[in-house]
């Protein structure tokens, strides 16, 4: 038995492996039980999704790596990653995946889980707050923009109040802290 240790000549101290027993083996089942998550198992790491993605070049974790991390059980790393929030939801990855893995939907599932655990990044929360406070994300910022186009200053019939009221009672309201 001792000999088996002898050929472990790799400089042990330099390699700091991820101990698989510290990961969450149920994470994959958690995702598989969420909407459109079931085909997660089928991923064979071909990287088609990453090749298709218009933004992954800027990411530390590429789409195929996120899927791999889910399968491995790297729950914390995935749910606290910036990548899931930067996804453009363009569905390119999902359209092209040769195994029918619903990558974009799975990223949505991750965002939903992350949100429940209070892991929404500040800039996203800011957007939520704006929605809650103004009832809309895009506001007319200067009168002259409409004037130049020969339009009246106010958008006719636009009333964000009901939207604000509704949002207060939704999960968005709860998550950004302004809701009931």
């Amino acid at each position: 038995m001792s000999e088996a240790g002898e050929h472990s000549t790799t400089p042990v101290t330099l390699v700091d492996p991820i101990d698989i027993s510290t990961l969450d083996p149920h994470f994959r089942n958690e995702i598989r039980s969420m909407p459109n998550g079931d085909d997660l198992y089928a991923c064979f790491a071909c990287t088609t999704c990453t090749a298709a993605c218009p933004i992954a070049c800027q990411w530390t974790y590429k789409p195929h790596q996120l899927i791999r991390m889910i399968l491995l059980g790297m729950r914390n790393e995935v749910l606290s990653s910036k990548e899931i929030w930067e996804c453009l939801t363009c569905f390119q990855c999902q359209e092209r995946c040769p195994q029918g893995v619903r990558v974009t939907d799975i990223i949505f599932d991750c965002k939903n889980l992350a949100a429940e655990e209070g892991l929404v990044p500040e800039n996203i929360l800011g957007l939520g707050r704006q929605l809650l406070e103004s009832g809309q994300l895009y506001q007319v910022t200067a009168d002259w923009e409409r004037e130049d186009l020969g339009l009246e200053p106010e958008v006719p019939g636009l009333d964000p109040e009901p939207m604000k009221a509704i949002l207060h009672g939704t999960r968005t309201g709860r998550l950004v802290g302004g809701g009931d």
Partner: protein, 416 residues
């Protein structure tokens, strides 16, 4: 005149060739080095691509001529087949179409025609055993190194006087028209591939050894237990391409090891509740229709790690710590495993090299090479010399059988 035909090796390929030639009226001499026919397929439990059990013989013993065992019973019943077990080819001379072959037969000590498998000898002495429930001829085999006084007493008590411990080796010389090489393969024992520690720890095994552990008629009744201490196995890790695709060992892809590894992974995931299986690979090569084994394995929750093993370190509790470089994540991962299974290369059987040189054939990475005559079947190795099955290189059973039939067709057309 065709025949007699010498077939060397009674695995799936040799058996198929023998039975089909014999059925076509050609006298065949089927030579097998071991005491039973069947070759490597004897110990494989379930077989891809049908997932039938290789052990059908046990459950269907009462029934002659069922699909796979048909060949095996025909081997002893077909009058055109002269089956010689415990036999090897000593020397070949003569000319194509009329080879002179010298055979040497080691004694079997038990006459299969007399043995009724009463079990008397096998229960009383280690020297006698049934090598496999589906061995053919259906009789006990004798390990001459274990023959002691008790074995001799048992021999004299055999109810049918089937045992003759004074039997001696014999030699025979034959003239044959054609020679078929069906000597098959041997699973490489990867002692030489340092990083995996094979031979240094009992829980580091090969796929063929795992097949035996999974076999319900095997020593553990199909239950997975750690060889080191008999504790139940909870985590299995497999490593692909051990010895294969390496200029230091075997430069070729052994072709079927991905499929049989996944076959085993699926059997464990489906029949052995709660055992975790992970497969470390560089490519998964489940060629043509076998891709479904790969998808099935992923669905069953088998883990796949693309990368290579950094180190294997035994722990005091009988487990092994395995560190792997995961090339998809660019991370090192550490697993605790009970059983570390190496998908080892398939190499030519011992003795194939001698046949190649005796007959002046070409070799291809040690296997018999077909002649380059442009024919599509690729089973001619020389003038009146044919090759089929894994003697040509790694292959599955259906492919070996198809090649054997191509050989039969060629011989029936006059050996060209």
């Amino acid at each position: 005149m065709v025949g007699p035909v010498l077939i060397v090796g009674a695995g799936v390929a040799g058996m198929t060739a023998a039975v089909e030639l014999a059925d076509a009226g050609v006298h065949t001499v089927l030579v097998e080095r071991l005491s039973t026919v069947g070759g490597n397929a004897l110990r494989l439990y379930k077989a891809f691509p049908t997932d039938d059990c290789f052990f059908c013989f046990e459950g269907n013993r009462w029934r002659p001529g069922i699909r796979k065992c048909f060949y095996r019973s025909a081997l002893t019943d077909q009058p055109n087949i002269d089956l010689r077990v415990n036999t090897t080819v000593v020397d070949i001379s003569g000319t194509p179409g009329s080879f002179t072959v010298r055979l040497r037969t080691e004694p079997t000590y038990v006459d299969p025609k007399k043995c009724i498998l009463c079990g008397l000898c096998t229960t009383r002495s280690e020297a006698f055993k049934l090598s496999s429930p589906q061995c053919q001829p259906q009789t006990v085999s004798v390990d001459p190194t274990l023959l002691d006084d008790e074995a001799r007493r048992v021999a004299s008590e055999c109810p049918t006087h089937a045992i003759d411990l004074d039997a001696t080796p014999s030699e025979d010389t034959l003239v044959v028209s054609d020679i078929v090489i069906a000597t098959g393969y041997h699973e490489f024992k990867p002692q030489g591939v340092q990083e995996y520690g094979y031979g240094e720890h009992p829980n580091i095994i090969t796929q063929l050894e795992l097949a035996e552990m999974l076999d319900p008629t095997g020593p553990s009744g199909g239950v997975l237990l750690r060889p080191s201490d008999g504790a139940p196995v909870e985590r299995v890790m497999m490593v692909q391409c051990v010895g294969s695709r390496s200029v230091d060992h075997f430069p070729f892809c052994s072709k079927i090891c991905c499929v049989f590894a996944l076959k085993h992974a699926n059997i464990i995931a489906q029949e052995h509740n709660g055992i975790r299986v992970d497969v470390v690979y560089m490519d998964i090569r489940t060629y043509d229709r076998h891709e479904r084994y790969y998808r099935m394995a992923r669905r069953a929750g088998v883990g796949f790690i693309r990368g290579r093993v950094s180190r294997v370190v035994p722990r005091d509790d009988g487990r092994l710590d395995v560190v792997i470089y995961d090339s998809l994540l660019d991370q090192y991962l550490q697993y605790e495993v009970d059983l570390f299974v190496l998908s080892s290369a398939l190499e030519p059987s011992e003795g194939t090299a001698a046949l190649i040189s005796q007959l002046g054939l070409q070799d291809r990475s040690g296997f018999v090479a077909p002649v380059e005559d442009g024919s599509v079947d690729g089973v001619m190795a020389g003038d009146h010399v044919f090759v089929c099955g894994t003697a040509l290189g790694p292959a599955e059973v259906p492919e070996s059988v198809t090649q054997a039939r191509a050989v039969v067709s060629r011989i029936l057309q006059g050996g060209v």
